[in-house]
């Protein structure tokens, strides 16, 4: 306790003397960056989770072909989850003499647990959002039910034995995305009416769903998973965010990188500041040892100080990080359509731990050197401490840093790769710098005796080879890191926008009969819409799953088969060849499905189409870009294989604004076709893209802040020498003006050199990093011009501003 009080007192004295400012600043910036980034990613991840949940109507869904154990609902409730049930089946509804096969979804009162239902009072009328199902006795139907049955709102239709009134037009329901190609018109009813319909009988094909929502949904999943039997399947909202999930995943990856680099820069600053702190405490330590302080209490004295510093920086960083994240949110808020959910405790914990681990990992090793300061230093100042026991100190430091990385990043392999790349780049830079400085030094000493300002600056720089190499590395690395992030951001955002082009199709049309095909395509062409129509044959895959492969819904439901001469544009063949020369029928299978079912190139697949078996050899596996908003297929057959079966056609297109009437017209002209509108999904994806891009830009600020601390630490690390040199020069009669220009020249030169090395570093690192983000890196000459110019100016200015003291302090005080 005594040594804690004493440490606190000594820390306060050091603070008073300005010894700790840069160290504290660097620590605070690191904690702040980590806290802000983690708070934002945490809250956005929760929002995304919520939005994905809205798409499926719950956080977790248990699907079963038999009625699941109602005990499971109880278990969900016991965990504090909201629960709802949904029962889905296909049945015929009728009105007068008209019959229509529909997909019915009967849901309990709490449905949907997440997201909303959208309904309208007339076909294509204004939508309103509700979050409860139709009241008992009534149904909400999609517009196809109205047109096919020729009914209106308020009419009563027969559903099995029940008579139900049509209350509203159903325009959107969660989970409709998953059922994009669910061809039957949809009817939503209240589960209370289900018994009265008497349609559920033994042997009926029913899909039962238990929906869960709440914080503990993953826990429930873990509890129930072992109890599941065949035919039970879990879907979680995490997997449902296909289209936006990819973008957000990348953004998280990028933000993670930004956090890593901000910490990396802050760590560089901390290391530099801690080194200076340590060096400035050699004398104190020598004196205390001479006065009789033993090594252990001396170490404790500094350990407590570091701990106190970490606590202070942690607390300050947390508060500032929290404020900064609020500030960033205030900027982004206008773009947010929904309120962000609150953050968990995690980001605060991580921020605080960052301070502790950085202090242990980066600041401790130089400070521990103080333990080895010999007491004899009081007589012989040239005596330096022996290096602290390297294995222990660096072992502890590495463990702390590894701990920090594990704490901050899920994907440690990738982080390590980035670090290895960074270390390699630093290594190359250091060697090049060393050689260059040596070379310049040699050529300067044999040639010229010039007195020009620039030459003197250069001579001064290469004269302090060690210091200059350090500063060049620090400035160069900082610039490199910032430029890499900036370049990556620009290219990432461009890539995202490419994925969601302005003309992404927002309408899917299916059930186009072969006889309607020409006329349909013509009608669209007349409206200036160019589309491709894909033939579709529905069938089942007859596939003996090999051992060890996952159960899959693919076997239980009908799949869409098509045939094409060429693979679709955004598909990539990853195994085999699109077509072989064989005369056997051939098929190309989507890769993930193939993996799930254990299908390989060369296997023979059998499919059942309307009771007829068709065999085809798998010639290739394809990846499919599910984000593309164009029709995608699991199985594409060779033309000539399926033409004998009755097919219909499918297409997607973007409806130009203002042509909504075309839709009504087309539905009237081609009454059997079905239409799915995905505008809402596209809008949501676009929103998210906007939010994520903006956040990425704002967070760059932290990296800049960290970079500035490196600049400060670096300038401060040589401040003592510069003050002494400046005082000496002034004592010799150098004018303030001369010193001012000399400082400016020296730092500008340092900046230009650092800029050149940063450009080289960027080229080297980007080649590797871009592959991680699946981007192509293109080097640019502009980089080589801009970076040195910019860095020269910034460094010159910063150096000049922070060494103004050189000009203000009287030479007497320093010499």
């Amino acid at each position: 306790m005594k040594s804690l009080t004493l440490s606190a007192r000594m820390l306060r004295r050091d603070w008073r003397a300005g010894e700790l400012r840069v160290l504290l600043l660097a620590l605070v910036v690191a904690v702040m960056a980590v806290t802000t980034i983690n708070l934002l990613t945490d809250r956005f991840a929760r929002l995304l989770q919520q939005q994905s949940a809205q798409l499926v109507g719950a956080d977790l869904i248990l699907t079963s072909s038999r009625e699941p154990d109602t005990q499971w609902l109880q278990q969900g409730r016991a965990l504090g989850l909201d629960v709802a049930e949904s029962t889905e089946f296909a049945t015929v509804v009728s009105f007068d003499d008209e019959f229509l096969l529909t997909n019915i979804k009967a849901v309990t009162e709490s449905y949907p647990l997440r997201g909303e239902l959208r309904i309208a009072d007339r076909p294509y009328g204004e939508e309103s959002a509700v979050n409860q199902p139709p009241p008992a006795g009534s149904v909400w139907v999609d517009v196809r039910v109205l047109t096919r049955l020729g009914v209106e709102l308020g009419d009563t239709i027969s559903l099995g034995a029940a008579q139900l009134r049509i209350g509203k037009v159903l325009t959107y329901e969660p989970d409709s995305v998953a059922g994009l190609f669910n061809f039957n018109p949809r009817v939503l009813m209240n589960a209370a009416d289900l018994a009265a319909t008497e349609v559920i009988k033994p042997g009926s094909r029913i899909s039962y769903k238990y929906l869960f929502a709440g914080d503990n949904s993953e826990q429930l999943r873990a509890q129930l998973e072992p109890q599941l039997g065949p035919g039970h399947r879990f879907t979680s909202s995490r997997g449902a965010s296909g289209r936006t999930g990819d973008i957000v995943g990348r953004a998280e990856q990028y933000l993670g990188l930004a956090a890593l680099l901000a910490i990396f820069l802050a760590a560089v600053a901390i290391a530099m500041a801690a080194r200076r702190y340590s060096e400035r405490h050699f004398d104190v330590s020598g004196l205390l040892r001479c006065l009789g302080l033993q090594q252990k209490p001396l170490v404790n004295l500094y350990l407590w100080q570091l701990l106190l510093l970490a606590l202070a920086a942690g607390a300050l960083g947390l508060v500032l990080g929290w404020l900064a994240h609020l500030g960033l949110l205030a900027v982004v808020q206008t773009l947010l359509t929904t309120q962000l959910p609150g953050a968990g405790i995690g980001p605060y914990f991580t921020g605080f731990a960052t301070a502790l681990l950085l202090v242990i990992g980066v600041a401790l090793p130089p400070v521990l050197r103080l333990k080895g300061v010999p007491p004899l230093r009081v007589f012989r100042r040239e005596l330096l401490p022996l290096p602290a026991s390297a294995w222990l100190v660096y072992g502890v430091a590495s463990a702390a840093l590894a701990g920090l990385l594990l704490l901050l990043f899920d994907n440690i392999g990738q982080v390590l790769l980035i670090l290895v790349v960074a270390a390699a780049a630093v290594g190359v830079l250091a060697v090049l710098l060393f050689l260059l400085l040596k070379g310049v030094r040699r050529s300067l000493s044999v040639s010229s005796t010039g007195r020009g300002l620039w030459l003197r600056s250069l001579r001064n720089l290469v004269g302090h080879t060690g210091t200059t190499t350090g500063q060049l590395l620090a400035f160069g690395l900082t610039a490199m890191v910032m430029v890499i992030l900036l370049l990556l951001r620009t290219d990432l955002v461009a890539q995202w926008q490419q994925q969601l082009p302005a003309d992404a199709p927002d309408k899917f049309v299916f059930n186009i009969q072969p006889f309607e095909r020409q006329a349909f395509q013509q009608k669209l062409a007349d409206a200036g819409i160019d589309t491709q129509l894909y033939p579709i044959v529905r069938g089942r895959l007859l596939w003996e799953r090999s051992e060890g492969t996952e159960r899959s819904g693919a076997l239980n439901r009908e799949l869409n088969f098509t045939w094409l001469e060429q693979p679709p544009e955004n598909n990539k063949i990853v195994a085999g060849q699109w077509r072989s020369q064989s005369s056997q029928p051939e098929v190309s299978v989507e890769q993930e499905l193939a993996e799930r079912l254990g299908i390989e190139v060369g296997d023979t697949l059998k499919v059942d189409i309307a009771g007829t078996e068709v065999s085809a050899t798998v010639t290739s596996l394809r990846t499919v870009n599910w984000q593309s908003f164009t029709p995608n297929f699991y199985m594409i057959f060779q033309p000539g294989t399926l033409e004998d079966f009755s097919a219909y056609y499918l297409t997607s297109f973007r409806l130009p604004t203002g042509q909504e009437s075309l839709l009504v017209e087309m539905l009237r002209e081609f009454p059997s076709v079905s239409l799915i509108e995905v505008d809402a999904i596209i809008r949501q994806a676009r929103d998210m893209l906007g939010q994520v891009s903006l956040m990425v830009e704002l967070l760059l600020l932290f990296v800049f802040l960290a970079g500035i601390t490196v600049l400060l630490a670096s300038i401060q690390s040589t401040l003592d020498d510069r003050l002494r040199e400046g005082a000496l020069m002034r004592a010799f009669g150098a004018s303030r003006n001369y010193l001012r220009s000399a400082t400016l020249a020296e730092y500008s030169l340092l900046g230009v050199l650092a800029g050149l090395f940063a450009a080289l570093g960027v080229e080297l690192a980007c080649q590797q990093l871009y592959q991680q983000f699946e981007l192509n890196y293109q080097s640019s000459l502009l980089l080589w011009v801009l970076l040195p110019t910019l860095l020269g100016s910034v460094t010159g200015l910063c150096g000049y501003l922070s060494t103004r003291k050189v000009l203000q302090v009287s030479p007497r005080a320093l010499l």
Partner: protein, 239 residues
Amino acid sequence: MSNSETRDVEDNVVIRASGLTKVVSTGDGPLTILDDVSFSINSGETVAVVGVSGSGKSTLLSLLAGLDLPSSGDVALCGQSLSALDEDGRAALRADLVGFVFQSFQLLPNLTALENVTLPLEVLRGINGVDSGKQLLQRVGLQDRLSHTPAQLSGGEQQRVAIARAFVTQPKLLLADEPTGNLDSATGEKVIEQLFALNREQGTTLVLVTHDEQLAQRCDRQVRLSAGQVVAAQAEAAL
């Protein structure tokens, strides 16, 4: 405890140096800095170690303080052999027994005069010591300079702070290395007056390294070093 150590305690011997030799290796081969130096100093004595630059005075002082170890021979402080102790043991002994005054003052630039004085009490004894610090600073005439940092004090004032710091732990032995070396003679004279006065008051044993003959003469006796050897250790007639 060996016989000589037991005898030291009984005889009131504070320092017993026996056969102290210090050899360092240089580029030109080994260099003998101290060569078989032996003497003893009793409690309450004031002894000057004198000699020209390079005669080994400061090396001797650092060996007496246990800051360095001899190549051969031994130092015993109050009967405790320094060679028998490890570095921490020697530090603990210094904390108990020894105070220092340095030529270059060795004040901590970030601390005020008062904080500099109380530092040994805070760090070594874990006590606050503000009152003793103030008293001592008043005793050396710096009662108005308590909150000044070393940069705000003159050389003489800085050395007076250092003297106050040396006496704050009431050491049995005070080692002073050229205490006036960085001061002009008038200031040096004042500082030395205060050093001797405090020394008398506290009954401290004083070992003072100097090349200033006048200063040396103020001590009870002198140990004269030349080329690493004791050439004369004479007792003052006054004794």
